[in-house]
Amino acid sequence: MTLDLSGKQYAGVDYDEKERLFEEVKKDFRFEQYLYGCYECGICVAACPSARFYDFSPRKIAQSVAREDVDLFYVFLNDSVWDCSQCFSCDVCPRKNSPGGLITLMREVAVNNGLASAQEALEGYGRVVYKIMATGTQVAPDMLQANAFPDWGPHVKDIAENLEAWRRALPPETMHTTEASWQVDEKTITELYLIWHMTGVMDMIKEVDEGLFMILQDVMEEKLEDAGYDVSFD
């Protein structure tokens, strides 16, 4: 799909609102190490996997931010940042920029502000976020279901059908689990939930997926209460 850089699609959004989000990106403490300016040389584009298959350019993103082109920044914030592979091949930048790091910051701002484009990008992703936040491991064995990965081959069905026995057929005793990738201590999970609580990560989830927030809130508050913590995510 061709990216519309005219900004017409966002003509109805107040400039002040776009600028507010732009300033939020610049305010992040990592910003000064991710963008020093831009030679507009395109070396990052040459290294970029996403640029080969999408109408996507780390050069244009870095350039728009370095030039403080707020309208263009807003287009990228909504229509481009989710195409990035976060591989950091663009760290070869001769200006010592990290366009991939800049994109991480832009995504975070998009999520924090509950932008519709971020919600759309994260549709279908709730189960993964649930796994990582609730169990402490992300791509659990029980996620390998034939209907979820039909393009990976028939072995996925074999794994799903034999999952429980095949997990017990793993010699490391920490790996007999099916719902998490390995056995994580209860105390460790409690500590993870306290980290989410103290760093405001649940507020971010609330912005993009209210339903997921409520499920996680129930799971976490209950476990924390059992462990003797009086913690509320509201």
């Binding site: 390998l144 072995h155 010699p171 490391p172 390995w182």
Partner: protein, 397 residues
């Protein structure tokens, strides 16, 4: 057309000796130690015995040999469990003391790079909680996933440069009853494999001299905070990171070069889960097909959760489009375990892979039919209740 072969052959003749005095970055060792002197954190020192290697800028990096705390990978343990199993199996066969912890969470970076539903303080707190947990056991952290490795390097850099972040994370850890502990080195398991490759080769039971392989290095290993990556003059003339290639060469394997060596695999973090058309296209067109056309290898060896997943699982659907695919994919740990005589299904767990490694096993003289029958027999014993789990002893039986 670009004469790739001529350029690559020329590059092979060049030897590059990195001079630490000319390094373009400050030495993280100095700052990590300085911050310890200032009481900002405690440094977890690499235990002896260690192997000294050189990083990208010619600075010395210590790689622990044993007393290692294995920071596992959710994608490896969850979907490619023979990957981690092989790492542990090699440690056991070499008689090295290690710890496989349950007081460990994922680094959570796969999710962070996919969805951005986290922030710098949370990511740093997760990292430092794991490092503190390792320190409490007396074992030294060794990282299985290149993304965890890359993300922890990023975290170290942020903590080094931002006192406010240090204060915030120290306060969070204090509430968990933990201290702020920074490892002297952030070590990837492939570096450990590199460091012990001669010991592995000494125990090699399969001749691999007739094998040709290609290598894919993980972006988060050598591009994201690239300084920590290991380089060696005898491998690619220190023009590229040495790990994997050095190991394959120690096993007598011919490593074939190809023009998109430095390209990503196409994993994309969110793409591999919700936009797989991209991952598949990239993996097939920019990696697998190029390797097959330029090298035609027997096997592709890589070393990361995302890279093994993408390069292995992306080939099945491409077959329907008559693409030039069909290249078996394994991690360096699986290949080393196999070289040392590990069981292809009980240890390497190749039935979790999509690509067909049987032709490769046949070339090595491994009877895969017999091996799979043995595995199925073991699974039957588990299903019937005769045994509860497959033990390490069973895996060698």
């Amino acid at each position: 057309m670009i004469p790739h072969a001529a350029i690559l052959n020329k590059a092979k003749d060049r030897k590059f000796e990195a001079d630490p005095d000319q390094a373009p970055t400050e030495d993280y060792h100095d700052i990590v130690n300085q911050l310890e002197k200032e009481g900002e954190w405690e440094v977890h020192r690499v235990p002896e015995p260690y192997v000294e290697v050189k990083n990208k800028y010619g600075r010395t990096k210590k790689i622990p040999v044993e007393q290692t705390w294995h920071h596992k990978s959710c994608g490896q343990c969850g979907h490619i469990p023979g990957y981690s199993t092989s790492i542990f199996w090699i440690n056991r066969k070499l008689g090295l003391d290690y710890h496989d912890p349950t007081d460990q969470t994922s680094c959570t970076a796969w999710n962070y790079y996919a969805s951005a539903t986290s922030n710098a303080a949370a990511q740093a707190a997760v990292a430092m909680r794991n490092f503190a947990a390792a320190h409490e056991t007396g074992y030294y952290p060794i990282i299985h996933c290149a993304t965890s490795f890359g993300h922890y390097k990023e975290t170290r850099q942020q903590l080094i440069h931002h006192p406010e972040l240090r204060r915030q994370v120290r306060a969070i850890l204090a509430k968990l009853g933990k201290k702020l502990i920074m490892p002297e080195e952030i070590v990837h398991y492939s570096e450990w494999v590199h460091a012990v490759r001669d010991r592995i080769a000494e125990r090699q039971v399969h001749d691999m001299s007739g094998i040709r392989a290609t290598v894919h290095p993980a972006c988060h290993y050598h591009k994201l905070i690239g300084e920590d990556a290991v380089y060696a003059p005898e491998v690619y003339g220190a023009q590229r990171s040495a790990i994997i290639t050095s190991t394959l060469q120690a096993l007598g394997i011919e490593v074939g070069d190809y023009s998109t060596w430095a390209d990503c695999c196409g994993f994309g973090f969110r793409h591999i889960l919700v936009s797989r058309d991209f991952s598949r296209s990239f993996a097939v067109q920019r990696k697998i097909e190029v390797m097959k056309e330029e090298v035609d290898p027997d096997i592709l060896i890589t070393h990361d959760t995302g890279c093994v997943t993408t390069l292995d699982q992306s080939q099945f659907a491409a077959k329907a489009h008559d693409r030039n695919v069909g290249l078996a994919v394994m991690s360096d740990s699986q290949l080393c375990a196999l070289a040392m005589g590990a069981h292809p299904y009980k240890v390497l767990q190749l039935h979790w892979h999509s690509t067909d490694s049987r032709p490769f096993l046949e070339k090595l003289g491994v009877d895969h039919q017999k091996a799979f029958a043995e595995f199925e027999q073991a699974v039957e014993e588990l299903k019937s209740g005769k045994k509860e789990y497959m033990t390490w002893e069973d895996a060698d039986g």
